[in-house]
Assembly symmetry: C2
Homo-oligomer: 294 residues x 2
């Protein structure tokens, strides 16, 4: 499950409701491209903006459409009670794994965050991936906390934020994490601009935004890294630089939405308001480049 390219599709919105046809088409293209797994309701999938029924529907649709490709879904919410309900829904709907972030309104203490993972892992019947995304959760894991959570039953992966561009620093970071988690525990890189660096440094998976839009080129990058062709992986990443520039400026979800709209894969504005996609003018500047990717 936690290996190779895991593509995180958008949840397209149309008039404030989920555009199911557009969503199915996005997932369908990932199935066709044979990504290694699909991560629905990630940050890219706007999970925190969706109600319980909406989340259930997204999972049902994706599990059906994904066929044999395993589906992971986020079950995060502010209140533990709601997280447990979402976990139940997700497992009933047939997810292969659950992604859990320490989202908060009142910033969480380490003990509060640990108690969240402890309670969920106690009730889980599928693997759990820890979602470490300080940009959106504003929660910073200590390595000690990562180690304590990784030792809980069902916890089998961490989706880590970006690592350094420097291969030595990236390797040090991954080795340090490896030293606090059990053997055969999966580390997955997110922050697409760092994907090649993360995979080259020893990550098992790439939890990818761009992989949900352009799976082919992202699979190419992943396969190079998996085969130890570090330089080739970096070269593929360098080819994607115009997109990384937008990711860094506007955030990946606003960029992904604007690209999907430009490609005709969903209707504008596509995101739950008040979020807004990258301005059309910025996307038009890289229109020719996007044509080379699809």
């Amino acid at each position: 499950m936690f290996k190779g390219l895991s593509a995180f599709p958008l949840t397209p919105f149309k008039d404030e409701d989920i555009d199911e046809q557009a969503f199915l088409a996005l997932v369908g293209r990932l199935v066709e491209a044979k990504v290694d797994s699909i991560g629905v309701l990630g940050s890219t999938g706007s999970y925190m903006y969706l109600g319980r029924e909406e989340r259930r529907r997204v999972i049902e649709l994706s599990v059906r459409e994904a066929g044999k490709i395993p589906v992971m879904a986020s079950i995060s919410e502010l209140r533990l009670r709601d997280v447990l309900l979402l976990a139940e829904d997700a497992q009933k709907a047939g997810v292969s794994a659950m992604l859990l972030a320490p989202v908060s309104y009142q910033p969480l203490s380490e003990e509060e965050a640990f108690s969240l993972y402890e309670e969920v892992s106690r009730r889980a019947s599928v693997p759990i991936c820890v979602y470490d995304n300080p940009r959106t959760t504003r929660f910073t894991f200590s390595d000690d906390l990562h180690g304590r959570i990784a030792a809980l039953p069902h916890v089998q992966s961490i989706k880590i934020p970006g690592v350094s561009d420097h291969s030595v620093e990236a390797k040090e970071r991954i080795d340090r994490l490896r030293s606090v988690v059990p053997e055969n525990f999966a580390l997955g890189i997110s922050g697409d601009p760092c994907a090649a660096a993360g995979l080259n440094a020893g990550c098992d998976a790439w939890y990818s935004v761009l992989g949900s839009l352009f799976p082919k080129v992202c699979l190419e990058l992943t396969r190079h890294a998996q085969a130890g062709r570090a330089e080739e992986a970096l070269r593929v990443s360098e080819r994607l630089a115009p997109i990384w520039t937008l990711f860094n400026r506007y955030g990946s979800v606003r960029t992904a939405a604007a690209i999907a709209i430009r490609q005709g894969w969903m209707s504008a504005p596509g995101l739950p308001r008040p979020l807004a996609p990258v301005p059309v003018s910025d996307i038009e500047q890289i229109a020719d480049y996007l044509n080379t990717l699809s």
Copy 2:
């Protein structure tokens, strides 16, 4: 509405549901103490952890119990569609004002935050107070943005975060804000340890956590400041130092919950998990002191 002591009660939880009796008793004590207004579903009232029906119920109960004392309620949510529904509910239930924070999962741009206030203000029929709380929302308002939002219809107050202890710096901050908002616009201080400094610097209101537990002493502080007795206001605040220490260490909501439990006003744990109140041992250390306040 936006003047004097505005007390923000807890929303007590019991077995993950709202303890309505405990909530009514908390509000009843504020009515008896004659606070100037009541702010339900603030951060202290755990608004972000509550569903739509729960929020509607809290507002209904408080408006009924508050009688002639005006009630303000938070209508914040991640998705604009939900904010508009909550605003409708709150206005139907009889709130005198609405509190709106730019809560986010994906960090908001200035334009996205502005669009949120613009859309809500267009549909509002009661005054709106801008909730500026970078600790929980992780959104930082520029003064320019404050000015643009303050010029929108119905926007009449800002609930500002703490100001400097230094009276000159505090005055400079309040004067600077005054220069970007319309005349007769209300600035209200929050961050209880800064209340005296904020009121002395010219704030119109104190949006208060402690005022919901010990309204008498907080009214005393407020009335001193309102009458220009700056030194006396500061002396009252200094008397509250043992509580400010806990606020600064654990956050005000965890402290308020632990105090309310200790006083017998609600059952443990009282907060929506995974949030946990201040450990009993810390509260017991100031037990004698708390007895002098109640």
